[in-house]
Symmetry: C2
Subunit: 642 residues, 2 copies
Amino acid sequence: MECTHRVAIPPPQPFVKSLKCSLKETFFPDDPLRQFKNQPPSRKLVLGLHYFFPILQWAPRYTFEFLKSDLVSGITVASLAIPQGISYAKLANLPPILGLYSSFVPPLAYAMMGSSRDLAVGTVAVPSLLLASMLGNEVNANENPKLYLHLAFTATFFAGVFQASLGLLRLGFIVDFLSHATIVGFMAGAATVVCLQQLKEILGLDQFTHATDLVSVLRSVFSQTHEWRWESGVLGCCSLFFLISTRYFSKRKPNFFWISAIAPLTSVVLGSLLVYLIHAEKHGVQVVGELKKGLNPVSLGDLEFFSPYLKATIKTGIITGVIGFAEGIAVGRSFAMFKNYHIDGNKEMIAFGMMNIAGSCTSCYLTTGPFSRAAVNYSAGCKTALSNIVMAIAVMFTLLFLTPLFHYTPLVVLAAIIISAMLCLIDYEAAIHLWQVDKFDFVVCISAYIGVVFGSVEIGLVIAMAISLLRVLLFIARPRTMVLGNLPNSTIFRNAEQYPNASNVPGVLILQIDAPIYFVNASYLRERIARWIDEEEDRIKSSGETCLQYVIMVMSAVGNIDTSGISMLEEIKKAIDRRGLKLVLANPGGEVMKKLHKSKFVENMGQECIYLTVGEAVAGCKYMLQTCKSNPVIVAETRNLT
Amino acid sequence: MECTHRVAIPPPQPFVKSLKCSLKETFFPDDPLRQFKNQPPSRKLVLGLHYFFPILQWAPRYTFEFLKSDLVSGITVASLAIPQGISYAKLANLPPILGLYSSFVPPLAYAMMGSSRDLAVGTVAVPSLLLASMLGNEVNANENPKLYLHLAFTATFFAGVFQASLGLLRLGFIVDFLSHATIVGFMAGAATVVCLQQLKEILGLDQFTHATDLVSVLRSVFSQTHEWRWESGVLGCCSLFFLISTRYFSKRKPNFFWISAIAPLTSVVLGSLLVYLIHAEKHGVQVVGELKKGLNPVSLGDLEFFSPYLKATIKTGIITGVIGFAEGIAVGRSFAMFKNYHIDGNKEMIAFGMMNIAGSCTSCYLTTGPFSRAAVNYSAGCKTALSNIVMAIAVMFTLLFLTPLFHYTPLVVLAAIIISAMLCLIDYEAAIHLWQVDKFDFVVCISAYIGVVFGSVEIGLVIAMAISLLRVLLFIARPRTMVLGNLPNSTIFRNAEQYPNASNVPGVLILQIDAPIYFVNASYLRERIARWIDEEEDRIKSSGETCLQYVIMVMSAVGNIDTSGISMLEEIKKAIDRRGLKLVLANPGGEVMKKLHKSKFVENMGQECIYLTVGEAVAGCKYMLQTCKSNPVIVAETRNLT
């Protein structure tokens, strides 16, 4: 019996080279330095500048056509950004004007350094709420507004530093640890929590709990039913109805996307007018109050690096930074996919980081690329990041000249704007899809939701991530093993459960292992394989087939093996030998083969027992079985020897 | 073109059934209830009793032959157990008599419930040291010996409860998370630390640091050079030389195993005699002092459940419990393998737990199955767990009548016994083997060692486990992708790097992914696959081959996929379509196929693009390529359409 092919042992590689290779795969999978190869130094400098400042790349090729599109989209986004900015700043317990400041400097910074053409930079709801709840645990925003403000700048600074350094260290992949299911559940939970917080404004309450969980909020709301103000409630519901119906309309007629884009500004204008005309501020409708005219004041001196709250500030910065970035990169990537261009996560991370560092020095708090603005920007036909500059200029005009107009803006209208934006984030269809496709992902999603709504934003996030990682570990710790059978009229061997017409080969048990063999699963595999053999022998005994002689282990899906795994294989081999059977390996990969060779397992086993394909392994076993049948003494002797 | 086989979509299974099935695989991989199936209730009861009390199984078949062997081995082990027990109790800062107590009750409990025939139960060095260092942080053993003693009993109780409940909950697999490499490094580190602690006795010092790290110990030793006692040192070195040389001799002549087994007792007897005769206790040689005669007093009332140290006690119990059990089960399994019988980890865990609970109520501290005793037991030819009972009876006699003989036993001889036992645990050959076979495992091993020696036992353990788990996660987060080529004269496709003679198929790129597609690697794979295609197109451009038309993704090693992975596949498909190429899948497994089907990916892609083998996929692509070549207009049109 002869095989055409032998399993190759890859040639030994010098340790340093293989280390370098695997470090490169881990940290530079996208090979960002590829374009720098074989270039003269001057060209390298230019490419480097292009890398960090994509504006240098697209600005020279900018056309008048682009400008027209970017002007329209920038102004449309600004009309959304202004009311949203004020609302989210209220959510973060910060002065409303900060929302406008944050829509001025960061978009300019992003336009220089960002590589997405569709992102429109601004503040977002979930990090705003997180900032309020995490810093609120340390400092009361109402009692000590100045310190609270300074801590918010400092947290933003740390968020920026964290984002930029992750990007520089090529660690952007940590956002990949937030799975799709985690994000769906987390976002829905956060949206629910944010909406619950708006009950304060909608019902016109003065006192409200600082906690964010459902139970505390409902207790706070229902403990003061006598304080509810119907005027506020009516105005809130009307605005909400207006906002939702315009969104619905725009969804139906995509050409009228601008209707839903300007709806928030319209409701602010109408609400302010109404309050001004009927003096509703004296009848329980709270208003924004005075907004200072003028551009962002410098806040570099306000950063508190030596306060007793430093630890809490850093923690807030890191968590809000990660969540902000995760939203930004997800949005950026989705739109990049629509338009077929590439976004480098690490480079974006640096851009976001620099933008937040710049923001923290100019009275801005955490910004990222929110979905709502990017969607409006995209629908309005933006072409480049210039739309961010246009938006920033529009906000600048507002800051310089129009702030007094917001004096009478009712808070409840801002609350309605937040609620209507949040409702889009509760993606129940995605949750249903998760349930249909992958129950485990559904569990992750629901735990994130429940954790956020009944615990806190951090608890939800930690639970969901822990469950997601547990699943990955479980895949390795409890790999599937399956029996393969022969598909009729072929030399193909496949899982007998998936292909019921696959028939087993008499005298041979073919087992496939579906994961790398590591210490976490070595003991499990040892027991599971022993059980497969037991079960097969029981089955054979009751059916009276040829008794079992060979166990073929199919290693196609075993990507790697560690020393615990090799010991396990040695033990399995001994156990199989002791039963009078013979172990045969089929198709071990390069990495596995290298290690089996180094540990002398290949030598002990005999390379003739390692086959390239399952078909050849089975053919080899069959050949041996026939030889034995025609000469049964050999079998008996072989059995005694082992 | 026709394919003989189609990729089957496994029939949908009811959710409850598949959940039950995967829970069973996770917690009952060894199917312990198998023997209970189809049995009458009375038989089930008997089997259940046999399960929890294996003594009922072997006692009825016990023979006189067995008794002879067990008597010899039990007495030999006792001669090792008595000096070892006293030494380790000193190591744990507990009264020496506790070491004897702990060799009396627990072995009796284990003989009833344990399923190993070779384990000889007793105290061990590493958990003893851990107990001293962890409880020592809370209570000073010299200043408050009574409280310290009670806390030690309580910690033992919690260790027992923890072990038993893990066993009952079928969670014994958590010890699998201690990889072989971690254990090698950890044990060597712990042995180094234990030996360092013995410098106190060897040099005859009164004062000594409570810390266990190398730096603190050396500082403590060299800060009091004037206190060193040469008498103690000489006696210690002589004993150590005697012990090591007997071990060496026994290793050379396996028939004289008993020489190394009784060497500790011999050195204790000789040392005590010497001290008694020359009154060395008055010349700087510290002695054990008085040992109380009599059996274990009941200590149930001494358990401190309401002390302020409860948290520390529970933590100590859990950590010492896990480490003790890990050693015991590893030793038990190794000897079971030699003798070809099976040990159920969860059942053993229950036995260890009950043994420690019983011990904590009878003045014993943490016990397990130490390697040294099991090795002596095995070499002495033990047949059943009765050797434990024999040993316990021998210890009982010692407790009742012989304790006064240990009054003059020099502590330095006990220190020598500990050192000589510890030296075996520094397995440098295993570390060299790790370096040769698997560099990553070597890093794990060395970090465990350095962590233990320079930090503390817990730090070393945590670092090593974190690195080991990181490796598992990294395997999933950065799966290998490789290009397959055709082996000459076959339809076999294998990794082109492993098989340099594999040739690529013109116009077709065959990519294999080596891990399940989960959220942690979805982004990576998207970028990596895009890069493979870029590189292939660059290569083709420079070589002028047929331009790329098909990308075949080989899914053989993709064991599972989650919803993030499915989105990634959809994105890849879109990206490939947009380049004017076509995506083809080869050999997706049952689980993957099920999810791709549920998420409508199969439908979108067209089932005709999913092939059962790489060979068929390539044949399909080639067929299409030929059709296109003979009719190039179609290609152009297809390209424009996509």
